[in-house]
Symmetry: D3
Subunit: 245 residues, 6 copies
C-alpha cells in the first residue's frame, strides 16, 4: 500500500526525519511518500499557523487521490485539517495526536502528553477530548522547546524534552508518554529507555494504524459527516479547490 | 465602535441580509462593516468548505486591525477560524454559533438548533460541547435546506425551516430555538411568533455581545492560548500572512 | 429600558456601589433601579443565608413587575432565587455568577473565580456546572475576605483579593478572572491593570447582557420549566405571595 | 432515635400519609415526628413554590434542634432547602429525591423517575446530576397528575401514575422506578406488584437511610461547605433567624 | 434477617474483625454470617488477585441462597464479583466501596478514599465512576500499607493510614474520608476522632444499607442486566457452577 | 510474532471460525494460536458467565508466557479478564470490544454496537465508557440472537443481525457498526456490503492492533496499575496461580 505522510510545515529536515520514522515501522509492502509544503509557516505553533497550513495540506491530499495513495498521516500534533481531509480522501486519514493517544491508551491506564510550547497545550487537550482520550490523559505538559529547536543539534532540546517526560512520570504518575510533536519522533526510543515506560511517537503509531485499517478493508465512512464535499464551484483564486462531489 | 461582520461565503446577497440584521440590533453609536470574500466557496456546508474559507477570513481580520475595527463577528454557524482570528485581533471576536447558544441558555433551560444540511449537524454538536452548551442543547436538527436555497425566494425554505423548528418544540420539548445558519437571520421573528418560544439568530446575538464586551472594556485575553501568533516568516505565496508577533 | 438590580443583603453601602457599577456600563437609555431588602442577612455567606434572602428578593421582583421593570440582575454571586425569579418575571433575569462566567468564556479559554470565604466555593462550582462553564473554570479560589470586609476601607481586603487573583493567574494559569462577589465590583479595573488579563465583574456583565437580550427582543421562555407559577392560594402569612398564574 | 419528617406543603392529609409511610419502615426504637407548615403553598410545583416553603422548613429544623431531633427527612421531591438545613442541623438531613435515587441505584442498573407535572422534570434532573445519579436515570417522566390530585380519591391519579410507570419499564427499559412525589408513597407497593420491578418511595428510603447513618455514628460534616452558618445579626422581621454560629 | 459477609481473601483474622464490625452496627434481629475462602489469594491487591477470588465468592453466594441468606456484603474494596453475585442472589448484594462512597456522599460534599497500595487506586477510581460518586471523590490516596500489614500489630499501619487521612483533609480539603480496605474497619472511630470529620468504614456502611433495603422490601431487579443467569450446562470441572436459570 | 487468541467459551467451532478470521488479516510473519477452555460456560452471556471463564483464561495466558507468545486477543465482547491478563503478560493484550470500538472511531464519527442478547448491553456500554468511546457510540443494540445460535446454520441468526445493523444505520444514523460478539466475525463483510458503511469485527481489529503495538515496540506499561502481580502464595486448590512477582 502507499501511505502519504503530510508534514504541514515547510521544514524539509523535519520532513526527512518523519519519513525515516514512518519507514522504520512500515510493513515490507508499504511505500511511504513524505510531503511538506513549499508555501506557509515554517512551524505550527498555534491556531493561526494551523489555519494557514490547511489549504496546502488539502491540496496534497487531492494530489494523493490522483496518485493512488491508500492512506494518509497528518504529521503535526494539532491534527490540522483532519476532518476536511477525511471528506476528500477515499482511504483512511489519521492524525498523529489521534494515533498517539489511542495507542497509548492500549498499553497504559494513563498517559501525559509532552509537547513543545505552552500555548499549544489547549489544542492538545481539545483533541484528547474529541477523541475520547481525556480520561486517560493525566496532563498536557509543555517543554517550552520551540518546534524548530528540535531541528537544531546545538540546542539542548532533547534533554529538556526528556526532563519534562520525567516530570510526567514522577509528578503526574503517568504510566506512558505521548510525544506532542512530529519533530520529536527520533527521541522516542531514548526516552522510553531512560524512563522505563512506553513512549509513543504519533508518526509511527499513525503509520501502523493506517496499515491496520487498510488490512481490515476499512476506510472513512462516506455516510454522514465525512461524506465527499458537495459539488460546487468555488470562486476566484480558489476555483481549483472546487469539489466535484 | 466599529464591528466587522464576516460572512465567509461569497454570496453578496446573504452578506447584505446579514448586515441588515446586524444593523437592526446595533446600538446607535455602532458602525457595522459587512464583508464577504471574492474567492472561495459560495456556501459552507462541511469541513472542507470551512477549511478553505478560513485564510480569506483571516486576511479580512488583518485588514480590520489596520482599519481600527473594534470587534468581529464570524457569521457562519460553524464558527470557522474563530480561534485563529482571536489570536490576531485586538478586540473581541465572536462566532454566531457561540453567541446564539450562549444567549439561548440565558432565556431557556433547553434549546434545539435547527440547521441546514444533515451533514453539518456534527459540527454544531462539537461547538455546543466546546462552548459548554451541550447540556442545554436538546438536539441539533437539520431542515435539509441547502444554504443557498435560503437565498432563493422561489424555494419553500422558510416553511421547511419553520416545520423543523416546530418539531423541535413538540418532539424535543425545546424551550427555545437557535437558528443554525446566518442565512436564516430574517426568519427569526416569524418563527418566534408562530411557535411562542424565543428564537435566537446568532448574527444579532453576536453583535450585541460584541457591544457588551466592548462596553465592559473586555477583549480576548492575550495571556495563554490566544496570545498573538509568534513572529515568523511564512514561505512562498503565504509570506504576506507572516505574523509579526 | 428599566433594569432592577437586586442586592439580596441589607447593606445599603454595597447596594450603592453596585448601582454605580451598573450605571457605569449601562447604555444611555437605560434606567438602573437598585434595591436591597430591609429584612434579612447583612451578608450572604452560605446556603442558609441564601435561603432566607430569597422571599424578599422575590417580593422585589413582584413589585418590579408592577412597576414596569424590563429586566433584573441578581447581584449576589450565588445567584439566589434565580430560577424562581425567572418564573414570575416577564423580562430576562440574570445572575451575576451566570453573567460573569459566560462573559469570561467569550474572551478567554479559561478563568478562575476569586470569591470571598472558602465555604462558598462549592456554591460557585455548582453554578459553573449548571451554566456549562465548568470546562472553562480552572479553580474557584477563596480570598477568605468576608463580604462586609469589602465595605471596610480600613481592611486590606482589596490587597488580599488582588493577591488571590495573582495566584490564579500564576498557579492555575487562568487566562481571565471572574470576581466572585458583587461587593468586589470596584476592584475590577485595578486588578485587570495589575495582572494584564481580563477581569470580569458580574454586575457590569449582567447589566450589559440584560440590555443585549432586551435589544434582541428576547425574554425567558414561558414554555416549560420557567412558565409562570401555577395559580394557587398560599396559606396564612404567605398569602400575599400567592401566584395568580 | 427521633426523626422529624418535614412535608413543606400545607396539606395535613398528605403529611399524615407520609408519617404513616415513615412509621411503616422505621425500626422499633425510632420515633417519627411529622411536620407541615401552617403558612405557604398547599403544593410544591416549581421553583417559586419551593423558594417560598424553605424559610418555614428551616424554622422547623431549628425547632427540631431544640427538641433533640436526631435526623431529618425533607419529604418533597425537589429536596428544597436541603443544603441550608444541613448547615443548621447536628444530625443527618436527607431529601427524598436523594434517598430514592441512591437506593434505586443499589438494586438496579437504571431507573426512571415518575413525577407529577412536566414543569418539575428539570428539577428532578438537576438533582439526579447533583447526586451523581444521572448515569442511572433513564428518564424523568411526568404523569401530569397535580400534587393535590394525589389526595383526591375521586381522581384516577393512581391509575395514571401506574400507566406512566409502565411506560418507563417498557419504553425506557428502566429496571426500577423512583416515585417522584412524597404524595405517591402509598402507591409504591401496588406498582411494584403490577410491574415486577423495584419501586422506590423516597420517604421510606430516606427514613431507613437516616437510621443507617445514625447507627453508623455519622452526621453531616461540619468541615467545609455545610459548617454551621456564620454568626450574624439578621435585620428586621427575619431577626429571629439570626444564626448564632 | 441473615446477612452473609464475604471476605474474599483467605485471612481468618481479618474475617473475624470484619464480622465484629458488622455485628457492631447490625440491628438486633440481624444475624451476621462471615465467610472467607479456603482457597485463593491471602490478600487482594490488583486485578489478578481479584479475578481469582471471584469463583469462590460466587460459590459462597450459591451456598448462601441454599441457606436462606437475605442479603450479602462483599467485604473487599474492589467490590469483586459484585455484578455476578447480583445475578444469582435473590436478595440485595452490596460492595463495601459502593456502600462507603454512597454513605459518605450523604454526609459530606466531598470525600477522599484512603486505600492500601498505590496500584489499587485505579480500581477505586473506576468504582467511583461506576457508582456516580466521582463528583464527590476528591482523590484516591494510597497509604502504601499492604493489606496484611493491617493484620500485624507490630507494623505501624494504623499511624500511616491516619497520616494519609490527615493529608486528605488538609491537602484535598476532603470533608469526609472513606476507608479503602475492609481490613481498616477497626481504625474508623479513631481516625474520625483525630480528624474531626466523618470517616466511613464500608463494611459497617454496607451492613446497614442491606438492612435498609430489606426493610424497604427491595431486592435486586430481575428485569434486565441482573436477571438470573441463563440456564446452561458448564463443561468439565466447572459443571457444578452451571446456572439453572 | 506469535499471537494467542483466547475464546473464553468452550465452543471449538466458534474458536475455529475466530482463528480463521484472525489469520485472514494477520501479517505474513504472524503466527495465530487459537485457544478455548475445556472447562466452563459454553457461551458468555452475562456477568456470572464472564466471572467463571476468567481463571481458565488467565491460565491460558500464563501458559502463553511460558510458550513465548508476543501478544494476546481476548475474543469475547465483554473483554473478560482484560486487566488481570495485562498484569501477567509481557506483551500487549487487547479485548475485541476495545479494539473494535477504537478502530470504528478512526473511520466514523459515530457507531452503534450490535450485540447478541439484551442483557449484555450494559456490559458493552460500560466498556464504551471505560475506553473513552462512549461519545462515538450512538447505541448498543441487541439482536436477541443467543451466542450459540450464531453457530447453528439452521437459525436465521445472520439475517436477524443484519436487520438490527440496518436499524442502527437508519434509526441511530450510525456511520459505522461494531459487531458485538466474536461469533459474528464471518458476518462482517456481508453486512458492510449490504449497508454501505464500515462494519468492524473486533477479532480482526484486535489482531491488527496487537501487530501494530508489536511493531512499535510497545507493551503494557509495568509502572502503575498493570504492574506484575505482587508475589504471594495462594492457598489450597489455587496455589498453582500464585504470582511470582
Amino acid at each position: 500500500m502507499k501511505i502519504k505522510v503530510l508534514n504541514p510545515n515547510t521544514s524539509q529536515g523535519m520532513t526527512d526525519r518523519i519519513a525515516e520514522a514512518a519507514r522504520a515501522v512500515a510493513s515490507p509492502g508499504t511505500e511511504i511518500v513524505a510531503w511538506c509544503p513549499v508555501d506557509g509557516p515554517p512551524s505550527i505553533e498555534g491556531h493561526y499557523d494551523e489555519a494557514l497550513c490547511v489549504p496546502g495540506l488539502l491540496e496534497a491530499v487531492r494530489q494523493g487521490e490522483a496518485d493512488g495513495v491508500d492512506g494518509y498521516v497528518i504529521a503535526c500534533f494539532g491534527d490540522p485539517g483532519l476532518q476536511a481531509a477525511r471528506e476528500i480522501a477515499r482511504g483512511p486519514v489519521l492524525g498523529i495526536a489521534e494515533a498517539g493517544m489511542h495507542v497509548a491508551s492500549l498499553v497504559a491506564r494513563s498517559f501525559s502528553v509532552v509537547t513543545t510550547l505552552g500555548r499549544t497545550r489547549g489544542i492538545a487537550s481539545d483533541l484528547a477530548e474529541r477523541y475520547g482520550m481525556q480520561r486517560f490523559c493525566r496532563k498536557v505538559r509543555a517543554s517550552e522547546v520551540a518546534v524548530l529547536e528540535l531541528e537544531d543539534p546545538s540546542s539542548n532540546a532533547s534533554a529538556r524534552v526528556l526532563a519534562e517526560c520525567r516530570r510526567a512520570v514522577e509528578e503526574d504518575e503517568a504510566e506512558a508518554i505521548v510525544l506532542g510533536c512530529a519533530g520529536m519522533t527520533d527521541l522516542c526510543k531514548g526516552i522510553s529507555q531512560a524512563l522505563g515506560v512506553p513512549v509513543v511517537d504519533g508518526v509511527a503509531a499513525a503509520v501502523t494504524l493506517v496499515e491496520s485499517l487498510h488490512r481490515l478493508g476499512l476506510a472513512t465512512s462516506k455516510r454522514g459527516e465525512w461524506a465527499y464535499p458537495l459539488a460546487k464551484v468555488y470562486e476566484g483564486t480558489l476555483a481549483g479547490f472546487s469539489p466535484r462531489g
